[in-house]
Symmetry: C2
Subunit: 605 residues, 2 copies
């Protein structure tokens, strides 16, 4: 039943060799990996305007130079990451680059930030997408958490089905979004230059008395939230069709170009149309409204905007499992993240990401706006470390033309470092927890690795000297009566050794006497030991008895506790029987060095 | 840790022989068993007045004759049940009496009604008690569910501690309630006859035009809710100190006398004071207010009233586990209800009652008033069946003077049957579900018994002919590598038999080749079989291999699958390792007739 349901949801299992067919070409990769970056257009400009609004309407013209600054930053990042892709064709995520060039702990810092960040991506994007929907249809407002969770569930199932199929589903909305935004920008620009706009516009270069450097920096760092998601491509190189690095680099440049054009277009239109940020309506919605009015095109743009925000969450579904796989391969995360599921995706990573982000949505009741700065900082820490790593790499390897590349990465590193510091100084109240949970995550990574290493040490064998050891056998069979199950268990025990002893725990004298008499009558050729329990516990006297046997024979014999057990035909019938044997097994298993064996007796009605 | 916490909550374990010290004397029994019945005074009169109010204030005088009718009914019930106690000194609950005299299915009908009813008692009483508190302190109104659940938790823990101790805690409030109500009645009567009351009183015997027989019957049946709980004593005879039946009968008569006096006292005062039912204030509160004013005595009466409603729930904690024990002894309920816990109470019954009633409170959000008619009907069905059973018994046994007793039980039976029918006709909308869930409960009882009987049939042994069967041994050891755990497991296997085979599942050719080479180098004296898995599943190829071994050797050999397993030092380290062995064990356990053995290897760091 469960198996069939699983098949229906995620499809037939696939052979390991089928993996090449699941790889991405450039256009599909653009759809799968760029939705996070591209969707930032939906809120990047707005984030800048919200901060500037604190200094009044006339300060809004600063959004144009700030947007140009963000555009410049984007250019630097794209150039810098392009170098990384070619240097690390097998996957150049911040974790790998930082670990290889700056040491394991720095790598873990980058990896930990990214891992947490991917969870935030899913939570923030799905909530933001839900907000977009509920802004358009206020009656859905009470169901925000449910809508977000539904989307997360949908994305999780899609990704469990496999990469290619989800790409097919997800490609269309991404392209529609890109086309819609370009149509909006072009129409808006045409309308502006044909004089169709009559709005009050803050004059460029006006000196605004109460604007401070702090405010401008804060607005700039807010605008940088438009750059989240740029790193997705370099993390996902192994998912590309061959030649993976060329395809990845081309995808990165395509994505950067589209993102840059859309971002500066929206920012310019927002300035020309004199748009101020509003709690009730997004900036993109205001521009669309001013350009087309509230007709079909307006609703279409709003719709694809909501959709791409959901899809942004999907980027994390590609990136999180891959990063978890790399960390697990280095033993910093549980081994289960290395297992490919039936459909060749890293199912455990996908499921963990879905569950954790769903928890965030539930805990924050769908209001994850306050997580945005944390989310942006979580991206810029690995940005910085990754580029620092590349700098170290150029100095170490010094390939031909290394100096130019070194300079590109240095500029990139200094820029992202500066932005990270701006985040810390201007938005400390929203990001302070990063200083607690990042060390905690790194601590867990290190403990995990230590555990795996300890385990390996203890399990390691000297092939030349460590050989299996042959000993005698003593078997203890706890029994509750004389039944078919007991007969079967004793038969097995006697087939193994002659040192078999049956143990019975009685609660009062009559019970014990009756048992002894019946045993004598049966005469199975096995000695019966009877224990008396005043406290109505079966397990405690049995454990004590096993202790005694261990003390007497452990040196010469393997001690086996053989538990007779019948298995009911239907699982629910199980609750009708006392679970003493399960408890006994669990106790012995965790505390004692005895072999635990079960002879199952299957009931057939 | 868990163990220590348990000790703190419920006290040290007690020996089976300590049980006599836990038995109840008459006064303690009155406290433990009568709170349900006595607390009915808090709402019995009010239930009558609410129904009569539908015909107007002038109709309220009917409450006096109706109360007298209920009093008569109480007398009949007490006499009838007194006979039951002497006839069934080992516990004469409706289940036993009906089963013995009317057949098993009728007994199950009575037992099922009572079982469900005890759960309703806890839910209704704890909610009603909470309502009393929140009426006095409206600020607590938002926390009603929490207060009810806290009370249920408290009662559950008290009862897990054991009968005597909870009796000590519970005796005082019951006596305080009885004393308070009598003080209220006496003061009220004195005030009335000294002319201190000046209220409009509906004149006795006025003909009220719009009153119907239906309404009077409905009011009467509502008043009968004051009789719930009367059966508790006859169910709990085994809990009494010896001579149990005399003590139980005396307790029953005491309880009946107190209940009758309080009920008629409150009804008369309500009439004399001209009190009309109000949504905001209970009838008892109105009488107390009219008699004493809102002073200390008033609040004291309100307080003990709330308290006794909580304690009413406690009656069910004595009755439910005992009835569940009796049903389990007859194999109609799971065996676990027969196990006495550390403190000699039937812990499973107590815990199940607590959980189920807590669920009812949560599902109904603390508004369980609508369950009251259901609850009353659930009492009158077993009342009727029990007395019908007694009638059959007198006819069968015909002891000296049986005719008088027969007549008493017949009158009792006819009365309660009539009331049950009145319930069905006047309150069908609130009790219809009883016709669905009672058959369902009885169906479950019968299925449970059938399962136990089937199991016993299949496990039964012929002592003379069924002897343990000695066969050969074949051991299959699934391995994932060459480690200390594998060495230990192979050592054990070789100690048992020479037919040992190790099985390795590889995912690709390199893996398999490496393993085969290493095995050759180690040379443990055991043959290695290598399986190849295209779908990355370890379990499926292993199961197929076991199938093959079974097919070849099951006739001559016991087949053992020996699973090497290391146990981490701390339980949480477990999640760092793949759980393949657990899955394999679970699968084999449920599907295959092979012995499953585990050689635990305990890691020490």
């Amino acid at each position: 039943m469960v198996g069939k349901f699983k098949r229906l949801l995620i499809g037939r299992p696939m052979k390991s060799a089928e993996i090449e067919g699941e790889k991405l070409n450039k256009l599909k990769a653009l759809a799968v990996l760029s939705s996070d970056a591209l969707s930032s257009v939906a809120y990047g400009t707005e984030q800048i305007l919200i901060v500037l609004m604190a200094a009044g309407f006339t300060a809004l013209w600063y959004s144009v130079p700030i947007s140009l600054g963000v555009l410049g930053l984007l250019l630097i990042l794209i150039l810098s990451y392009r170098q990384t892709i070619f240097a690390y064709p097998t996957g150049g995520g911040a974790y790998i680059v930082a670990k290889n060039n700056l040491g394991v702990h720095t790598g873990l810092l980058a990896g930990g930030s990214l891992l947490v960040d991917y969870i935030l991506t899913v939570a923030v994007s799905s909530s933001a997408g839900t907000d977009a929907i509920t802004s358009a249809f206020p009656s859905l407002h009470d169901h925000r958490v449910l809508i977000s969770l539904t989307m997360i569930l949908f994305l999780t199932i899609m990704n469990l089905r496999g990469i290619t199929e989800s790409a097919s589903v997800l490609a269309l909305p991404v392209y529609l979004f890109v086309v819609s935004i370009f149509v909006l920008i072009i129409s808006g620009v045409v309308k502006y230059f044909t004089g169709g706009v009559h709005a009050a516009v803050p004059e460029m270069s006006t000196t605004v008395s109460n604007i401070s450097l702090f405010l401008i920096l804060k607005a700039f760092s807010s605008g940088c939230s438009a750059l989240t998601g740029v790193e997705a491509v370099s993390n996902a190189i192994p998912n590309f069709k061959k030649p993976a690095e060329r395809n990845a680099a081309a995808t990165l440049v395509m994505m950067g170009t589209i993102l840059g054009a859309m971002f500066i277009g929206i920012s310019l239109l927002a300035y020309w149309y004199g748009i101020a940020p509003s709690e009730k309506e997004t900036v993109v919605s205001q521009i669309a409204n001013a350009t087309f009015g509230r007709g079909f095109i307006y609703y279409f743009i709003q719709g694809v905007t909501a959709l791409i925000l959901f899809l942004a969450a999907n980027t994390a579904y590609s990136a999180f499992p891959l990063l978890a796989f790399m960390l697990a391969k280095d033993k910093f995360m549980p081994r289960m993240f290395m297992v490919r599921g039936d459909r060749l995706g890293f199912s455990n990573g996908i499921i963990n990401l879905g569950v954790l982000s769903a928890l965030l949505v539930i805990v924050f009741n769908g209001d994850t706006e306050n997580l945005i700065p944390l989310y942006a900082l979580g991206v810029f820490i690995p940005f910085t470390l990754s580029q620092l790593g590349m700098m170290v790499r150029w100095i170490k390897l010094k390939p031909s033309g290394w100096l130019g590349r070194f300079i590109v990465n240095t500029i990139g590193m200094l820029t992202t470092l500066t932005i990270s510091l701006i985040f810390v100084f201007t938005k400390f109240s929203q990001i302070w927890m990063v200083f607690f949970f990042l060390p905690f995550v790194i601590f867990i990574f290190i403990q995990t690795k230590r555990h795996y290493e300890n385990t390996a040490d203890q399990l390691r064998i000297d092939l030349a000297r460590d050989k299996p050891l042959i000993k005698g056998n003593t078997i203890v069979v706890p029994i509750a009566g004389i039944t078919q199950v007991v007969k079967q268990s004793l038969g097995y025990a006697k087939s193994v050794t002659d040192n078999v002893v049956a143990v019975y725990v009685g609660f009062n004298d009559e019970e014990i006497e009756r048992m002894e008499k019946k045993w004598e009558e049966w005469d199975p050729g096995v000695r019966l030991i009877v224990l008396r329990s005043s406290y109505r516990s079966i397990i405690r006297p049995l454990i004590k008895f096993v202790d005694t046997v261990e003390w007497k024979t452990a040196e010469t014999d393997h001690i086996t506790v053989l538990i007779p057990q019948f298995i009911t035909k239907h699982w629910w019938q199980h609750i009708l029987h006392n679970q003493t044997s399960l408890l006994l097994r669990a106790y012995l298993f965790n505390r004692k060095d005895v072999v635990i064996a079960t002879v199952p007796y299957h009931l057939n009605k």
